[in-house]
């Protein structure tokens, strides 16, 4: 496959298919008006409405706040504990069964309990989001720290680094590629838990907005809300990838040499 073809013709195809799907949707909405089939322009208008004015503050900002705080907690907790557990191998058999059990409790199942303990507060939502998204980071960090090349640890010992220095200067950078893989999974889980926690118990946020509009049969707003959540997810994923590319520039080049198939 030549490079040029990969760029020009498929792009037309891609635009064509999207345009076609939109056209079919619009056509269906026009000849068969149904509550679940709002017109395209109404969805777009609803989407635009979400991003400024009162709705921005009552739907998007609360969601982003919960997501951001919980996600930060998950990344910090997960990587700190993960690196510690992963490098102190003696600790592993003690905590492994408990971890292996906890990670398989679906975060949704925790939600009612969290509601009971914290009430319908942001604390409760942040707790559930963080609970769900800590595990992928934690497990990835453990895994990354365990796979650190033992020879690098020897080098660090000959240079007489303390254990704390070894963790920060050797184990952390070596485990970072693995941690980032975990963070990417954590992000998608965090988004899901954000929506669920707002669907079940909230009076603001995107989840609540979607649910209320569904009950009011304002479906264009429902679709607009779903699109907004998708946009946030996409934007955060892209931001994360950009950040990762910067931090892990060495890793991509390195892996490219070791394993030409890529990262």
């Amino acid at each position: 496959m030549t490079v040029r073809r990969a760029h020009s013709i498929p792009l037309l195809w891609q635009i064509g298919i999207i345009a076609g799907l939109l056209a079919i949707w619009q056509w269906a909405a026009l000849i068969h008006p149904a509550p679940y089939l709002p017109r395209v322009e109404n969805i777009v208008a609803g989407y635009v409405r979400l991003w400024h004015g009162a709705l921005l503050w009552s739907a998007i900002v609360p969601s982003m706040y919960r997501l951001g705080v919980a996600f930060l907690i998950a990344v910090l907790l997960g990587s700190t504990f993960g690196i510690t557990l992963g490098s102190l191998r003696g600790l592993d058999p003690w905590v492994r069964p408990v971890l292996e059990y906890l990670r398989f409790i679906p975060a949704v199942a925790i939600l009612p309990a969290s509601l009971l303990l914290f009430g319908a507060t942001d604390k409760m939502r942040i707790f559930v989001i963080a609970f769900g998204s800590t595990f992928p980071v934690l497990l990835a960090a453990i895994d990354g720290a365990r796979r650190v090349e033992p020879m690098l640890i020897d080098v660090a010992r000959v240079i007489r680094l303390t254990i704390a220095q070894r963790l920060v200067r050797v184990v952390l950078p070596a485990a970072l590629p693995s941690i980032f893989a975990g963070i990417r999974i954590a992000l998608s889980i965090a988004l899901v838990m954000m929506v669920i926690s707002e669907l079940i118990a909230a009076d603001d946020g995107l989840g609540f907005y979607i649910l209320r509009n569904q009950r009011l049969f304002l479906t264009e707003n429902v679709y607009a809300g779903v699109l907004a959540i998708g946009t946030i997810g996409l934007a955060l994923t892209l931001a994360l990838l950009t950040f990762e590319k910067r931090v892990l520039a060495w890793h991509h080049g390195w892996r490219g040499l070791v394993d030409p198939k890529g990262v």
């Binding site: 799907l21 058999p93 003690w94 949704v108 009971l116 303990l117 899901v192 669907l199």
Partner: protein
Amino acid sequence: MKLAPRLANAMKGAVGVALAVACWEIVRAGGIVDPRDLPSFASIVRSVAIDLAGGELAIAFLTTFSSWAPGLLIATVGGVIVGAALAMLPRLELATRPLIEFLRPIPSVALIPVALLILGIGLPMQLFMVVFASIWPVLFSTKAGVEGVDPRFLETGRVLHLSKTARLLRIILPNALPSIATGLRTAAAIALAVAITVEMLTGRAGIGFYIENVRLNGLITEMWAAILMTGVLGYLINMLFMAVERMALPWSLENRDR
């Protein structure tokens, strides 16, 4: 592994579990939360036994299972077919890429209100949600697995004059199986979570509804029992998939060093 270290590890693990239970009791006794909201661990274990034997909890699990299993099955078949097609037909992949990249970042549960609008409350809606959420990991792991087939294997197939179908079934698919299996395990966990979410939100019978219902009725011990048992269920499902994987794919790289 020899028996002695294995036993030692099991003992350490048991101590770890005991410590976790002790932490639970300390949080309870420390007055950080209302002790009524956090019943003693012993009472929860007792409640697990009673509820499972009494059938209510067991029935709830079976009900959830009855939408989880077919949903996962559909997602697996669909994910493998679409994933393989995308990997083997680059034009199709290029054409549909924007659509897939558009759908992928949308958290599945955000579609629950939409699915409610179109399908109403019921098995079809729950199935749709389970399939929509769990098809992605299968799809992408299949795609990665098929794309990752060593070209030398394909060339071998051509040298041996295998037909296209034979190459697909005898070379590409076996090579992609370990990757598919990993995706399937992820999908199983996601399917369970989504099935529970739908039950919780729409009041359809099953473990999700059970947990929410006992909470609303103030049966706190029963709620914790059900939550902890859900974890056990998730754990068992994963164990089952891993065991099947190990038996069916002993040559997979992931199983070799075990």
